[in-house]
Amino acid sequence: MSTPTTPQPPHRPRLGVFKFASCDGCQLTLLNCEDELIGIAGELEIAHFLEASSDIAPGPYDLALVEGSVSTPEHLERVRRIRADSRHLVTIGACATAGGVQALRNYADVEEYLATVYARPDYIETLATSTPISAHVPVDFELRGCPIDRGQLIEVITAFLAGRKPGIPNHAVCFACKRRGNVCVTVAHGTPCLGPVTHAGCGALCPTYGRGCYGCFGPAGTTNLPALLPILRRDGMGDDDIGRFLHTFNVTAFTAVAGQEPGTTEGEDPV
């Protein structure tokens, strides 16, 4: 990318932004950092960011931000190429870190899915699974969320520039919810909420709006999911409802924590 007006350090680190199967929301989060965007472009050479620029430079990249899940044969090859081209690889968003909502196919018959959407499934190239980037190549840091949080993205970029680890807490949404001064939606209203087992990062948005957390940041660093299930049942959720609740935007991650496949709420011991 060309030189902006601010004085330049002699060798700016080179940034690449890449995309696999996803909705574009996480890379759009970078464009939503309006106040920081021109500043970031001064600190980093934006070498590869197709959504934002026609000026494409080849690798190597000092920092690669990767959005989306691996879901086609072409992805398998490209993810390795990007890893080889990148000194630091950071995955952004639930698709890249857990396979995304499209990982629901992992628990279904993909042939049937193809036939549902396409008259000629034979024209479509797809894998039977949608998997996170880390299932294929080593990843240096994973930023969670569907979508990621703007402040956390800035923190990751800032930490990279400063040569330190990103300060992204691993605790549950409840911490942020208390800090925000919210009344607990479960305790006060009996609203089913995944806050106790969900990774912080959104700022406890859903409870702030009177809604139960629906787990879009995936599981927290440590969870006791079996302890939450009776509370969800008490608040009126059947096993089917709980299955769908946990198996949406981070289906593979919650499945790993629960030690069970979608549609079952047996087997209470976390893996």
Binding site: T5, L37, E51
Partner: protein
Amino acid sequence: MSEPVTGSRVLRVPALTRVEGEAALHLRIHDGTVTEARLDIYEPPRFFEAFLRGRAHTEPPDLTSRICGICPVAYQLSACRAVENACGAVVDGQLAALRRLLYCGEWIESQTLHIHLLHAPDFLGHDDMISMSRSHLAHVERGLRLKQSGNAIVELLGGRAIHPVNVRLGGFHRTPTRAELRPLAERLRTALDDAWDTVRWVAGFDFPDAECTADLLALAETGTYAIESGVPTVLPYGDEPPRSFPLRDFRDHVTEEQVPHSTALHSRLDGRRHLTGSLARYAVNGHLLSPLALAAAREAGLGDPPLRSAAPGAGRGEVCRNPYRSILVRAVEVLYAVEEALRIIAEYERPAHPHVEVPARAGAGHGATEAPRGLLYHHYALDGQGRITDACIVPPTAQNQGAIEEDLRRLVQGGLDRGEDSEAELTRLCERAVRNHDPCISCSAHFLDLKIERPFRQPWRVRC
């Protein structure tokens, strides 16, 4: 891809940038004539319509939002309308006004993003916004400020700008107080000036001549510029009069077909190519814009929009069919959305309940709204427990694909006729032709493989 013809050459140009989506463009040129222009979309299939089956009727707003991070509100509200239609629920009054306010926020941020970050660099000869900021810093900063004000609306009403959390069937989880909306109004007053300046700025761009010959399709609503609801209305190319059809018949008129080598389904409207989005909305509903927005349209050189209800003998106004000039309509729509947001905030009274109940029942429903890029249609069938048994989603870009391909053919042909024969020139023309329509193929790694097949290499012509 088509089989190469003898003596043909295949040109690869990497990366269609500043758009949403992964596409391969295939051009066949024979004796200086474009015989085929095909935009093949490679979007990794994500199977939304398949995994929606079996989910609860409350889930489509949040689930389908994930189809597109650029226009999640469009997906959420089209989904809500379709499910509410199936369940016989009606959302009106202040709740409907709040939905329109939320949608105005998305229009402002999404259209502004396209104008400043994706489209304007084409007119000013830049690769991107950052390089544009060297010579047009004030314009870039204004664009970012305007985009932020749109995001601020979505963030306040929805919690966050991408995949907002506050939208639900029947309305919202929580409605704002009047006091909470006040700072937003302050910000939007600045945005109104910024939107005016944006209109004046893009009005000064140089617009090549071009005509899109597709039928124009937009929702129409009585007495207001349709955004979050309306009846599908067609303004055909040529002299045929406008026509409308009920939303429940949408799939009888707009049919989708699958073509080889593309994961996007292609649409036809009554067997013909059609276009949705800004140009179509301005043609169908322009006369319902506010006086301020109409004044801006005039200042932008758009001409008076046609009056659908014009009395015999009254002028039909002017239908803008130049895809390059769609940026003007987008700028006018941003101005209108800011003004509309201010009006809704001024008239807002907090409703007694944040949502109406939408009890599940067996049935089918249809919903459509005007996403920034055009008409977005959802259809769901539910069983007695409120489980989804069938889902169908028709996004605007699938509908626009035929019109985009026709544009490509015409613009490349025009380039060839003018002697613009180099790969670089033709690629630039192709990219501009595609970007004019702001496709959002939501989407995958973005690249354009430009493959031009020619029986023989045409000699370069020196242009004076």
